[in-house]
């Protein structure tokens, strides 16, 4: 009997070590591929540059001058932007799915995206006339996104039951619809040029991103990531519900606030630069959760790298699939992402969610 117990303890430990090692291997593989994918994505496009020349151009001795322009001014910052945004959206989505205990939670379902869009449209159509600044769209879009998220959360919150999933989704849908309606109303009353800028913004694009944009974007993204990564253990506990997490010692109001602000910084901070990019925050966390399990300390770094790789590839596809046209990246994430997600849903359902 005693032997049985000892061997059961051993096998439990071995199994856990195996799990952890597997996550570490995946993490290392992703870390290597993130660099490789960056280089490949910079090399691909309407004019292709061999990998060796990409490398030379990055090191500062381009083969011909156009290599320098393409690698260091046009594609380099753009691919980096895709990586940052992909990482931010998937980390934000991961946090929200755990906080709201809902597999459908993502920036778009909770209305953050439509809040961002409203903020951007409001600034493009009205705000710019009052206060002209290159930061206007970013600030306006960010503020609206945060306001919408808080509104949805407050509507779904009840004193005794914590957040109620159904109420949350309904509140998110309603508030989302409200802000989409307001955005349409702004478009209706605007002239054709303004409407075009708004629509273009909302389709989502990484066109014209500069190193400067990348750096600016990193500020909210790093701040948001820190807020979320400080609470990875708490995210695990929150999936048991807020009351249970509190009984286990979590300071729920503080953690919830940090997570909400963190997610809003990640999503609003990136969406403000590139427009709405759907689906990344939904499918990347689910895809990797089905591989490495839901333990957030293991999942978070993998989500960050996986999201970066995913969006770099999607963006490269969007700009090189049908030359000379460029597909809006937001539409490609949905068109490619949805079938991929459905495949995961069908094949590994029990790893996604409590069934």
């Amino acid at each position: 009997m005693g032997n049985d117990v000892a061997s059961a303890r051993e096998s439990a430990k071995t199994e856990e070590t195996r799990r952890r090692r597997r996550a570490r291997v995946i993490l290392a593989a992703l870390l290597a591929s993130v660099v490789l994918v960056y280089l490949v994505c910079v090399s691909l496009g309407s004019s292709q540059i061999p990998l060796g020349r990409v490398w030379d151009a990055i090191l500062g001795n381009p083969y011909i001058w156009s290599d320098d322009l393409i690698v260091n001014t046009l594609r380099g910052p753009r691919v980096l932007a895709a990586a940052i945004i992909g990482a931010a959206l998937s980390l934000g989505g991961m946090a929200m799915q755990a906080l709201f205990r809902n597999p459908m939670a993502s920036p778009s379902v909770l209305g953050i995206s439509s809040g961002s869009s409203f903020g951007a449209a409001f600034y493009i159509a009205i705000g710019a006339g009052i206060w002209l600044s290159s930061w206007g769209t970013v600030i306006c879009s960010f503020a609206c996104a945060l306001a919408v998220l808080l509104l949805v959360y407050m509507l779904a919150y009840s004193k005794h039951g914590g957040t109620q999933t159904t109420v949350l989704l309904l509140a998110g849908m309603a508030v989302s619809a409200l802000f989409s309606g307001l955005t349409s109303m702004i478009e209706f009353f605007s002239d054709a040029d303004t409407v075009q800028s708004i629509v273009f913004w909302m389709l989502g694009s990484f066109d014209g991103m500069s190193w400067n944009d990348d750096l600016t974007m990193l500020v909210p993204v790093i701040a948001g990531s820190i807020l979320i990564c400080l609470n990875l253990r708490e995210l695990n506990l929150l999936t048991a519900g807020e009351a249970k997490a509190r009984n286990l010692g979590v300071n729920v109001p503080r953690v919830r606030l940090m997570l909400l602000i963190g997610s809003a910084l990640l999503v609003a901070g990136t969406v403000a630069f590139c427009g709405v990019i759907g689906f990344v925050g939904l499918i990347i966390p689910h895809a990797f959760r089905s591989i490495v399990g839901p333990e957030h300390k293991r999942l978070a770094p993998i989500c960050i790298l996986g999201g970066a790789i995913f969006l770099m590839i999607i963006d490269t596809f969007a700009r090189s699939a049908l030359p000379p046209y460029e597909l809006p990246v937001g539409t490609v994430t949905s068109v490619i992402g949805a079938p991929f997600f459905l495949w995961i849903l069908r094949s590994r359902k029990n790893m996604l969610w409590r069934t």
Binding site: E15, R20, G249, L352
Partner: protein, 277 residues
């Protein structure tokens, strides 16, 4: 030697009063059973003790708990109101196994039980050898070592219940609150669970309060029994004095036979039928 003292505890849901001023004291080494019909306020009492319901009136206080529950050393009064602790401090004193709970993601049993270590272990030493051994001991104690690596989404109701109890033990609590812990368990595991309660209480430094509908188990395993009706305590005393044929008739509307049983070494409760009138 930890003590839990509830004094004049009142609680209302909106305007509807649920608890009308309860007084209970529970001491170290005691297993106390809380009996009563549905809606008599049993679960509410637990939720007021663990402060899930924060708007309760009156006092819930603990005394003589070990000093290592505090985040930082400070002046203590004899009786410390439970609301004066931080969330982490409180979770080192009180662990609760709720009636209904679920995880939204398919964590492994091991990861789930490890969550009980949240307030005891830092994020960095959470997965070190010593911590892992402690988690494994909790799994062993509740007899779930064999499915340590399974996903919680694949467990039966009874298996899940034992995981939650292991998680509560991982908190190393001094007050353990169990809300109908034997629900969903097969008969064998019901008795196993009650044996477990007796075992941890025998080690000292902990008291256990169990909300239950099972008069048989309460009569056999609880040192003391509280009977609640409509938000009031109508009986409080040793199990063999409180669980009587008259009480069962009055509170539960059941005819029964309660007798001392030499083989059990305790009271046996036999329910006969409902009382119609």
């Amino acid at each position: 030697m930890v003590r839990l003292k509830v004094e004049d505890l009142k609680f209302s849901h909106g305007k509807k009063p649920i608890l009308h001023g309860l007084d209970v004291e529970i001491r170290d080494g005691e297993v106390i059973g809380i009996l009563g019909q549905n809606g008599s306020g049993k679960t509410t009492l637990l939720n007021c003790i663990n402060t899930t319901y924060r708007q309760s009136k009156g006092s819930v206080a603990v005394a003589d708990f070990s000093a290592d529950v505090l985040d930082s050393p400070r002046e203590l009064e004899d009786m410390m109101d439970i609301r004066s602790f931080t969330d982490t401090e409180r979770s080192r004193i009180i662990a609760t196994v709720e009636q209904n709970s679920f995880m939204s993601f398919p964590f492994t049993v091991m990861d789930t039980v490890r969550m009980g270590r949240y307030s005891r272990a830092g994020i960095l030493d959470e997965s070190d050898e010593e911590e892992t051994e402690k988690v494994l001991s909790c799994l062993e104690e509740t007899g779930i070592l064999d499915f340590a690596s399974r996903n919680v989404s694949e467990l039966s109701g009874g298996e899940w219940r034992r995981v939650m109890i292991a998680q509560a033990l991982a908190q190393e609590p001094e007050v353990l609150l169990l809300d109908e812990p034997t629900l969903h368990l097969d008969i064998n595991h019901q008795f196993e669970l009650m044996d477990l309660c007796r075992r941890i209480v025998a080690r000292g430094g902990i008291l256990v309060a169990i909300v239950t509908h099972d008069l048989q188990l309460a009569a056999r395993y609880c040192d003391r029994v509280i009977v609640m009706r409509e938000g009031e305590i109508i009986a409080n005393g040793p199990a063999k004095e409180v669980i009587t044929e008259d009480m069962i008739a009055e509170v539960f509307g059941m005819r029964s036979r309660v007798a001392w049983d030499d083989e059990i070494g305790g009271m046996s409760v036999f329910l006969i039928d409902r009382i119609y009138n």
